[in-house]
Symmetry: C2
Subunit: 344 residues, 2 copies
């Protein structure tokens, strides 16, 4: 059941051509290509076989062929030649890190923008996973008698804030003491563990020093237990509208609705494992993604996965280029972030 060399060649040319033109590829136009040295009749025979094997399909009885999902899959798995980025692309990517930035989020956001500009598809960047960031400092700023705002600063320069309420009877001095103790004991602890550590290590000390222990402990612990929701950044949300693949108004509706509803797409991306992943059409298991492919790559600090950077395009996507770009950006991103935050 293996494909012959010639079948592979024909498949490759069909996919390449369709990615370029978005038009079904006919036997005659194929046979005229430089790579193809045999007649259109031969091509027709091979194409019939490829179709029977499920790698290509027709849009109607007498049309040229387009790649099927299985065809794209084979193409991605076996036929992709890594493409070198050109100078201007490299320059664009590097410009992400050009300014002296410290905030992780800004870097990530800028990556999304650049990525969508370079691909003219839609880019989506997840994370960074704030929950794994480590506590740098916690501050509490009272707003009025029974409301205060807790500000959590992480080692990555991320600032998270939460309003919390407590009875007006609480002594302001107590609040200050509590903050001091928390900072002393919890600096360096990942946010996700804060609440647990409070009970395990800090509770007893707090109880000794603080009058309104019960109340304060209750509200601060409640406040800290809210997990920081990871942000999703988009670039080029409307880029897909310009592709000939989405000339159908119904497709546009579905696609835009899915993009707008951030949760769905972020879960779709999140479930991909570390490294680079390509999901083609229905492999995404989502009806709105039928005509789309999603390529994801993770970025890390050291060896710890931090977030995911992804490109959403039509199934007829420039896989080679996008993959090269994603690999390059995610590697660069990981390197810069590791340098910046690894040993703080």
């Amino acid at each position: 059941m293996l494909l012959t060399d010639r079948q592979v060649l024909i498949l490759q040319v069909i996919v390449d051509d369709f990615i370029r033109t978005a038009q079904p590829v006919g036997s005659r136009s194929l046979s005229k290509k430089d790579e193809i040295s045999f007649s259109s009749a031969t091509v027709r025979n091979e194409m019939a076989d490829l179709e029977e094997l499920g790698f290509i399909e027709k849009t109607h009885t007498s049309s040229g062929r387009i790649p099927s999902e299985k065809g794209y899959r084979y193409y991605v798995d076996h036929l992709l030649l890594p493409q070198k980025l050109n100078r201007s692309e490299i320059q664009s990517v590097r410009s992400i890190f050009a300014e002296q930035i410290y905030e992780l989020e800004k870097i990530v956001q800028k990556s999304a923008k650049i990525l969508s500009e370079l691909t003219s598809y839609t880019s989506i960047v997840l994370g960074p996973a704030v929950n794994n960031n480590k506590l740098k400092r916690i501050q509490i700023v009272p707003l009025n008698q029974d409301t205060a705002i807790a500000i959590i600063v992480t080692d990555t320069g991320h600032v998270e804030n939460r309003v919390f309420h407590f009875p007006a009877s609480v002594d302001p001095g107590d609040v200050e003491k509590m903050v001091n103790i928390l900072n002393e004991r919890l600096a360096g602890v990942p946010l996700i563990n804060l609440n647990g550590r409070i009970y395990k290590e800090v509770a007893s000390i707090l109880r000794q020093h603080i009058k309104s222990y019960d109340v304060l402990m209750g509200s601060i612990s409640e406040t800290l237990s809210i997990p920081a929701s990871d942000k999703v950044f988009f670039g080029g949300k409307t880029n897909m509208l310009n592709l000939p693949d989405f000339n159908d108004i119904e497709k546009i509706r579905n696609l835009m609705a899915m993009i707008e509803q951030e949760d769905g797409i972020s879960q779709l991306i999140r479930r991909n494992p570390k490294g680079l992943n390509v999901k083609i059409g229905r492999e995404n298991d989502n009806s709105a993604m039928e005509d789309c492919s999603l390529i994801t790559a993770t970025y890390s600090i050291g060896s710890e996965k931090l977030g995911t950077i992804a490109v959403l395009g039509p199934t007829r996507m420039e896989y080679s280029r996008v993959i090269s770009l994603l690999e390059f950006i995610s590697a660069d991103l990981s390197k810069v972030l590791t340098d910046l935050y690894q040993n703080n």
Copy 2:
């Protein structure tokens, strides 16, 4: 040049009907309405006059009539009967303020969501204008030797943060001193004035107490002079895609591109004065808005304008309902915010 009562009646019925059905209205179907007690021929004569006066137009030579922009304008200015909100609408709006929320931004964001759900158009909420918020507290958290993060908390519970850099030679104690002085002197000052006040009132005190005055003054002043950019919240960005008015793919492209590019739409909204405003089609002075109307209402704390809440819909919008809703929400919003923040 005034319209006769009968012309006004016909105009009203045409606009109402077109808003409901999105179909051109013919003389015969008009004459069959209960409100209309005369024949289709009479209606035809009146319609010819109304067309000559510019209030209605044809889509082609022998089509029914649709309202022109001038027609909508007349309708909005003279024919609108304020519509009472029904119980469930009022309930939805009130739910915005149901939870005990303190953060202004959350309230505003939720308003946008509810508004788009109730109208099935797109809603846009500007503000609140952070620059007018007053400083509650400023904190500086060092991240490493030459980087720190300045956190600004306002009286409305808004937290703004900015990374800033300074030479490693600066004494940490100096930074702390500076923060204390800033907090003492600048609490209650609107953010927009912070930078000016530093030079006028705080500079001399700082100079006395701080060794690395020049450097620190430079970076903190630079940091504070960045104006806080007001946020824009959207609701129902893709709602417009479901309207029959946007069955044309080109229109969708333009509209979505305009919505996505937040600056444009936010300026469009911002230039409307206090109170309620209706801009119809080309009155918006923007080619992507040709088939859209924009209704804006401002909300305030006390008498101070804080931000704007807006609905973007087709020119064939349910003006009456949307206006009632906007008036209701903006009034409620202003009331709640005034109660919350007026005398802090």
